[in-house]
Assembly symmetry: C2
Homo-oligomer: 378 residues x 2
């Protein structure tokens, strides 16, 4: 019997020049640059340029990229009408998936996958998220602002007000940190879809569906639920003890790939310190410290560290996003990685089609319905 | 350096009790039954029951399944409005992807994946395809008919007329033949998405995007293009010789998994004989015979056989489907397999997250934008 690579853990499916995760040392590299340096010194647009085109832009290149992205922000009427057609109570990730799919239907991402397709998809994501958020609040969508950067325009589209420099910068850093991360499930989904020579829109739509899952990107708001449920630092020890005694998994800790601190968590912690209310930040730090200590005591063999979700929740809450837009905002960032991986996949494509091991019944004799009086054995 | 399992060819990712492809002997099994027996003696609904519940239904079980499917055929208003919002010139597969995504937004496939979710998705697919096809022709969608079976209702929704028994039976057999096929790219996409614990709607939406690709399900109409271009049997030899001399790939021949005749092709050939116009069928047979002979002469080492697409095209054309609904009709069938695989994946789930080998630059020193005067080397 063949060996089953369930979960494909450790199975190398592709080479990539986009990102490198050194899980043992807790490092993340985008195309040669340490994520900590990029988070500190580069903007989301510079990182998008790096992922799509392989190098950081100079000023002229960056200006060109920003102008193009700004030009793609306005949604086709068919996409806005699609969002209007959906129930106001829909899950935002279902709406984002549908809105991007409608964009594909309206625009036809035909011909070879291109950086321009990647830009259209990336520029449209904030518009889709914000249009739905405003419509469900009974407000009309506002027109995008070409004088704001990607993060600033996103916050503007949501609120209708130009955001503070501090909030814009915090969101920009978050978007930079989560833009790419190896062959995670959503990125792998995008590559599988692209490998059939389907279009980039289909690949991104599939990836959104994968990101929605709580084992991938669908759970950052659960960290906030936990922090709210704990309420204040002095409750943390009893709350966490009880949760662990009940065998519950603590949200925001552990990652399949990292066996050291997730480098994104470190940056996000300092970002949360600047964007969160002080009491909230103190609570988060207290919960993190205690949780790490308790997890280490209870599971000394497992290397459990704070993951990207823990302080992502604090940062997104700090910049004013409602809880159910945390995962859509993750998608607003990760679409750069998805699209860069599609472009990379198609440079040297091979249809991704694994095998399965059949373990069902064999050699059953077909009996026509009219003579099938008893149920077949299970 | 790690070995790269590009395309995952032959890599066993999962066990399955759903279908077994014996590529060497040209056999296909659904849960113990030979596809040739099922195509001859079972209906699409019986096969759906087999895939979802593990055994062929008795009469009471079949009646229950058919009643439930019929009850789920009517689309929520939000889905019809979504389809109306899209351009009439959109690619049908983009519309089907968007319509199913809107169904997910309207219905919320929340909670554990279930056979009921599978039934809602399967029952809705013909309604989505047909609603768009009628709207683009300037006609209003018609209400589904609960007195017709799945295939008959689909043809009715398209034309507004009850189809002949012969057409219904031909389409039913096609739907039966293509309902499942191991871990093909779209089914694998569905399993990857489901493995994040996302919902069944997201998994199906992703799978539709994968099926759209011409290396997977997106090309059956190209067979028809080829046959039309050849025009009549006496042109076939010169046409095929010229195409092969130009290095072109002939549509409808070869498959990654089969090294013998695809058993579905055999059934479809006899079905095409009964559904196609006689001249058209004679042309198809002549082209098949010549193509196989020429391919064997030119590539004696490769085992190239007629694949499922070749006579699928003839059958779908024969039952009156327009060319650009061939791939959506493939989706109408394969959604049973996708949903069965999602249910199976979640019985013993493990997040599907492969690894990649980083081959990009290392250790680049970050230079801030204002000092980045020259472009980095490629």
């Amino acid at each position: 019997m063949a060996q089953i690579a369930k979960g494909l853990e450790g199975v190398v499916v592709s080479d990539t020049a986009l990102s490198h995760i050194d899980g043992e040392r807790g490092r993340l590299i985008y195309s040669g640059y340490d994520i900590a340096d990029l988070a500190h010194g580069a903007t989301f647009e510079e990182v998008a340029h790096l992922l799509w085109l392989g190098h950081l832009p100079d000023e002229a290149e960056l200006a060109e990229l920003k102008a193009k992205l700004a030009g793609f922000r306005e949604l086709p009427a068919a996409v806005v009408d699609t969002i209007r057609a959906l129930p106001k109570t829909a899950e935002p990730m279902d709406v984002v998936r549908t809105g991007v799919s409608a964009l594909g239907a309206a625009q036809r991402f035909s011909g070879p996958a291109s950086v321009e397709h990647a830009m259209v998809l990336t520029a449209s994501m904030p518009s889709i998220v914000a249009a739905f958020d405003r419509l469900r609040r009974g407000l009309e969508p506002v027109a995008p602002r070409s004088d704001l950067n990607h993060a600033g325009n996103y916050l503007y589209l949501l609120s209708g007000e130009v955001p503070s420099e501090q909030r814009t910068r915090a969101l920009d850093t978050y978007l930079t940190l989560t833009a790419d991360h190896g062959l995670n499930a959503s990125t792998f989904t995008a590559r599988v879809i692209a490998s059939t020579l389907s279009d980039m829109g289909s690949a991104v739509v599939g990836a959104i569906g994968a990101l929605k899952g709580p084992l991938h990107g669908g759970a950052p708001a659960l960290v906030l639920d936990m922090l709210r449920s704990i309420g204040k630092p002095e409750n943390a020890e009893a709350w966490l003890t009880a949760a662990l005694d009940r065998g519950e998994r603590l949200m925001g800790f552990g990652h399949r790939v990292y066996k050291a601190e997730d480098p994104r968590a470190r940056v996000l912690r300092s970002l949360a310190e600047r964007t969160s209310e002080i009491d909230f930040f103190k609570l988060a730090v207290r919960v993190e410290d205690l949780a790490l200590k308790m997890l280490h005591e209870r599971k000394p063999d497992r290397k459990l560290y704070t993951n990207v979700e823990f302080y992502s929740a604090a940062v997104m809450h700090g910049v004013g996003l409602p809880d159910d837009l945390f995962t859509p905002t993750f998608a607003v960032s990760r679409v750069t990685g998805w699209t860069a991986h599609v472009i990379e996949q198609l440079k040297d494509n091979r249809l991704i089609r694994p095998a399965s091991e059949y373990v069902g019944p064999v050699g059953l004799t077909f009996v026509p319905l009219e003579r099938r009086s008893t149920r077949a054995p299970a």
